[in-house]
Amino acid sequence: MPKKILTKNLARFLIVAGICLLLIFLNPKGISGPVQKLLLEIAYPFQKTFYLAGRTISGTFEFLGSIGGLKKENEKLLKENNALASQVALLEDEKKENATLRDQLNLAPRQKFNLEASFVIGQDPQRLGSWILIDKGSANGIKAGMPVIAYEGIMIGKTEEVSPSSSKVALLSDSESAVNVNDTETGARGILKGEFGLGIIMDMVTQTEVLNVGDTVTTSGLGGDLPKGLLVGKIQEVRMTGDKLFQQAVIIPHVKYADLNTVFVIKN
């Protein structure tokens, strides 16, 4: 008897498996797009509530767990604050100098972005670890392909799928992500690629270019889809590709993607 049940169940499984695999060949997004948008619309208020509740609870736990380390952290922050204060004074001086030089060279001021602040309301629950869901969508003027930053110009990804009230942001660690970047110190150019949520690498850097550990990597603006100068991260390791034709650099992002609460979409 159990053998018979197993055969029947196996047959069911094989039918469903066949349908699932067949779905790959069809255009899954084309078929499911409207249903997905509707589901996201219905889910939006619940997602926001659950995400904020989760953040509050986990924040409370983290706070309780970190009380012991607060004193040390406070001392460290005080030192950092002092160092930053002196740096600010230096930068103020350089700002004035920069403005004077710009006047002399007749240059336009740096680009001001039209930012749309958004809350994160969901994250990749699977093992691909490469997207976040934000609470702004096409109703707020957001379109697919817009760059998304955290804090002051730190690039984290691009909007990919947009519904009226929410948008999926593909992070730089997404396997399909490809962004033109350069090493700000040496000027070396490459393409930033994600590795299935594991990390990000700067790839396709020619052998003649120089990459140093600790260098800052920013967007190069090549291709025109992203603004120039958005901070991506720092070089952690430099290595050769398998075929020894190019260099690669492992990049540490400036922000921890899992801890993002608020992000900004660059609309212009």
């Binding site: 049940i5 589901l39 926001k48 989760g54 736990f61 994250q123 629950p125 093992r127 590795e195 594991l198």
Partner: protein, 182 residues
Amino acid sequence: MAQKIIIAIIIFLLVIIQISFLPNFFLSRATPNLILVILIYLTARKGMEQTLKLAIFGGIALDLMSFTPIGADVFSFMAAVLAVDYLAKRFLVTHQGWRFLIFVALIAAGTIINEIFFLFFIKTFFVLKKINNGAAMPFDAAFAYNIIYNIFLFIMLYWPFKKAEKILNLYAGRAELKTYAR
């Protein structure tokens, strides 16, 4: 019909909890799979026939809400449910004294099967759609974390499950009595 709508709403809410609540408490690349844990428990208790539709509906809902290729979770849930059904019929009936531990083992086995089939599906998708690095998709520590997290989640939910089952059985018993009385 009303019962089916309630089940659909519950699954929908579970998917939202999975995406928007649970990631706040766990490592970024590993999160317990709430729907899978519930599916494994129900399959072990009631058999595959009762959970097949839930697996399909839950899988589709999770695929749509988590932007994975449609079918990935349906496929992996079905595989897990099939394996758990087979194992539960072999071990759970004959080893009633070890019930809790067998449930834990079923959660571990179900998670492993689910992970393998999910990765297989996604890899196939990447290769067929010629998406870069498809073959290099990782099979790493997150795999082990998922097993541990699912067991942890199951342990947290085991007694509430039992309580809920008792209450539901009580209602079912009352309903039966009313039918006999008529």
